[in-house]
Symmetry: D2
Subunit: 342 residues, 4 copies
Amino acid sequence: MTDTNTRTGTGQPPTEDPSELDRTDPEAEIAARAEAYRNWGRWGDDDRLGTLNFIDDAKRAEAAALVRDGRAVSLSQSFDMNGPQKGWRRRTNPVHTMLDTGTDAERGNQGFPHGLGGADDVIAMPLQCSTQWDGLGHIFDHGRAWNGRRAGDVVTSDGDLVTGIEHAAGVIVSRGVLLDLGRHLNPETGELPDGYAITPAELRSCIEAQGASSSVGRGDIVVIRTGHLARARRDGWGDYAGGAAPGLSLTTAGWLHDTEIAAIATDTWGFEVRPNEFDVPAFQPLHQVAIPNIGLTIGELWDLEELAEACAELGRYEFLLTAAPLRITGAVGSPVNPIAVL
Amino acid sequence: MTDTNTRTGTGQPPTEDPSELDRTDPEAEIAARAEAYRNWGRWGDDDRLGTLNFIDDAKRAEAAALVRDGRAVSLSQSFDMNGPQKGWRRRTNPVHTMLDTGTDAERGNQGFPHGLGGADDVIAMPLQCSTQWDGLGHIFDHGRAWNGRRAGDVVTSDGDLVTGIEHAAGVIVSRGVLLDLGRHLNPETGELPDGYAITPAELRSCIEAQGASSSVGRGDIVVIRTGHLARARRDGWGDYAGGAAPGLSLTTAGWLHDTEIAAIATDTWGFEVRPNEFDVPAFQPLHQVAIPNIGLTIGELWDLEELAEACAELGRYEFLLTAAPLRITGAVGSPVNPIAVL
Amino acid sequence: MTDTNTRTGTGQPPTEDPSELDRTDPEAEIAARAEAYRNWGRWGDDDRLGTLNFIDDAKRAEAAALVRDGRAVSLSQSFDMNGPQKGWRRRTNPVHTMLDTGTDAERGNQGFPHGLGGADDVIAMPLQCSTQWDGLGHIFDHGRAWNGRRAGDVVTSDGDLVTGIEHAAGVIVSRGVLLDLGRHLNPETGELPDGYAITPAELRSCIEAQGASSSVGRGDIVVIRTGHLARARRDGWGDYAGGAAPGLSLTTAGWLHDTEIAAIATDTWGFEVRPNEFDVPAFQPLHQVAIPNIGLTIGELWDLEELAEACAELGRYEFLLTAAPLRITGAVGSPVNPIAVL
Amino acid sequence: MTDTNTRTGTGQPPTEDPSELDRTDPEAEIAARAEAYRNWGRWGDDDRLGTLNFIDDAKRAEAAALVRDGRAVSLSQSFDMNGPQKGWRRRTNPVHTMLDTGTDAERGNQGFPHGLGGADDVIAMPLQCSTQWDGLGHIFDHGRAWNGRRAGDVVTSDGDLVTGIEHAAGVIVSRGVLLDLGRHLNPETGELPDGYAITPAELRSCIEAQGASSSVGRGDIVVIRTGHLARARRDGWGDYAGGAAPGLSLTTAGWLHDTEIAAIATDTWGFEVRPNEFDVPAFQPLHQVAIPNIGLTIGELWDLEELAEACAELGRYEFLLTAAPLRITGAVGSPVNPIAVL
């Protein structure tokens, strides 16, 4: 698509050093990585799973074998009106209403026999409103979806006709690895500041510092803690949904690709660093490389606080992770309640 | 509440034989079992979990150790407009709409820089529309909710203020056991007919027939296959949601209580046999005993077809089951994608 | 677009006789009428209103002057779960839920001071689920929207960016005229059978039979009663939403154009006759002519029963009609409660 | 209910002077007015309309006769995500999504024959989110709804079973009168400040100043302009929804009752002055008198800017007002697009 990135022209991989990014040319920096790390065709023309293919039965058995204490931790934030959404692109917080209540049941106005009473409820919510997976149909690169398909052939008003999240319904159980960048880089506060771009070198040094249980490889699901959620809980949501945030640098694209991880998730709204690393208008460039090109499933708005406490306490950063999306036909994302078992 | 059931009066447990039920007196039959099997106070006055308390870390570790092949099976039906709901008590099928599409992205009208395109979506659905858990606030007995609380103190228009499903968010990982009553009782078709009331004796004989891996005890999550879903898939939904169905007899209440299972789920809309086992107006009497009195979490609309095939093939009926509800604050139920790992 | 319709080729207007339609060639029959009756550019390149432009202040003053008795009649069907929708293209019936109830208020659990209690509610509904207007962005002809714009420039996932129903918010007050085709053609039953195609000649004979108060001209809003709703009320909804129905023949396109009416509405789901008048696959051909080409605003699912009774009784078929859509930004349709004042 | 208000005890009507209110005793001040102005039983035990009963056919004919120029003005604010709602009591702005788009139609992926394309849409919204009517089931006084019914007999989780807004579907067409308090009290800015409590004396002086066309009497619908919306449009929504605002003083309760108006509406979120006129916790005391006791239908969030310009220009403050709620079964409120014709 472009030859302006000389590293690509010279056959060298794109830089892993954020200071070497051409901050005036997001098109070129994205294109270089899209080209270098594109997995199109790797799992056949009909593929609907991308890097989730790295998870196989053996991997799942290995993950289950990691369980020692049996302690389960939910990595989900709440789904309610007190969430961070502020309406950007019509993303609201979930609206949960009751079809029947205990107040009615107790008053006896429900019309059921023999003293039975019931309560039922309804929810209306964007699928990306709280703890969620981005499906492969969530992001496009120049009109192309995962595996090189035309975006308009994949996601219409009828939803994702090809790579809908339902195809991942029975897949996402694997070894999880927590990389607590917040604690690693800022041991005192455990939190990274807004705009902090995590580099590949820092990911590697975090793994090294955390020790052997943090090794990252094929089929793993990596969860990155920045501490942003802890900060938002303390200080108020502010612009947690959509504003400045710590997150992955665009330069981690190679690491995301080469480690052959199955999926990745963070405790931020948007996974990658915000503001993005350009001096000209840019928006989520790492998404543009990772989802349609690498085929990577990305989790956002995860709550890693309790897990981070547990891992630090146990000195163990690997666990069985079950994070099955709802089987919503044609969805480009899904709420999820990821469960780590240590 | 009542002394009309002589078995209770004589200190004998309620009958386990459906033919001995007084089919003219659901009030008495329910009350006898409510009284006999009530767990109120068992886990303290503040309890929010009921029988989910039977799952502890040791149980979860034991469950993880069951994994051999690493094969994962989703037990979830689809969430889409092709579901079984027909509007009873405002229960509709899920309505999934797009906030942004690939067609728009490809046409380039989304306003993003550097060729980025995106798709987002929204869902509106009853929390009991497809594969789901009934929370402890879902059913009341004479105006009383789980643990003896007044229904109107628990579930108002603001949702379940006490036992909302969010309290179970990090809990439901345990040993799962499939009891394939469909195959056990009807080896030829693998399906039970509508109105078939499964008895405690049949549950026991199924366990015995399936073998040691089917033993049921404290903290287990039992999944009962009746074959109803298989039939509905073949013949059309018809009245799958709310009509006649095979299911548990009211007389299984003692078994549900005494086995100390943590939760139970079926491949039917309503868990218990329909029509209910009375000649006078009755509605879901076993729910009335199980949820507010036993404190049992009940799953409905589960898809057990692939799991049943796998278990039959492997001759193994136990597995690691992760079935975490969405962390919806104050919900009396939740969609769930239960994952069995064999 | 086509020359296959010889009447067009010869400079003759398309036929008004349904028996002369080429039932094998909907493309040509539609194209002939689209070409003959297209109003593109008539009200300028920026027009957002189409034939609603025929309503001016003088017309509204004239309409108000028609009021004699002051009797008001709502022409709206109900908005609730008992409606006719069955899920076609995700059109459900409205789901209305409560955010607060009187039961809660009476029990005193709402937290308000000095004995105040409140009830609030929420609705989720397709904008075309019950009595409604089709906006100008509702239908396209070969990728073209009203006034010749490209459909994708007009209606994206963000809604109708050009001709959204909000532009008609303050416009639709005019003289209404009831044409009771049901009574006119079937005085005994007052109802037309499914598949009955109303012709221009029948519209004219109805006007003549009903008398002077039924004259139809510039800026009028015509409401056509077929009796279909009366039948559905009596016999059950059946396929009222989307199935066979009486309605306007494609051959009325010229009448719709030449009378210079501002809008038209019927007591059926789809305004035009169903099945459509072709022996090959066809769907709502008159919509394809009327909305994007003529620029006509169409009402559907109106309840004309009480109005028809009143008009027959009074011998007067004209009235003040106020039918303002909700001011929903970017909507391609809107629920409406049309009010006739006689 | 109380005798603490001596004016009631002495048979004197409650004060019309806000400075005489006992600011420490909202209970007593509300009770005095509830008792003095209660219309329970006035229109029979079965009444569902309250003061809307003041509108009869003659009144509507009189209203239609007011039309001179035929100029129509919509008094509705927009329904979209840019509205004032911030989530208080789960009141969100409307979420409008597309089921089908022009982008899809133009690309030809909708599956319709002969070049037909379509767009459809869906909305999810609180019924009180933008320009709306409060129905008679919206507010309760000490557990009592309009006409003295028990709140829990009227509004359950199933909606308003007695006084649902559908009963008013064909009623609300009458003479409208604009009282532009903003311009009257602050000719320079045309706006009242937050916390400004409009008194009965000011209502009367406004009527006198505006002249004969502003007389207020039986069956009229009064629309009160404070200028708050103009201010919010200029300065941003801020706390427009739920915060401080100009509005009617509790002391206007007698005026609301004695004038025998059918309904009243304002350009503010909450109709009455905010903060309310008490030094102890209080919330919408005038609602508590007006809706359940007087039986008054109240409109909020109306846009009176264009109307006020027109009235000032014409020197005429009366008009035909059609403000029919949607026929939503069991709703305690409804969005509305009120149309004034001058």
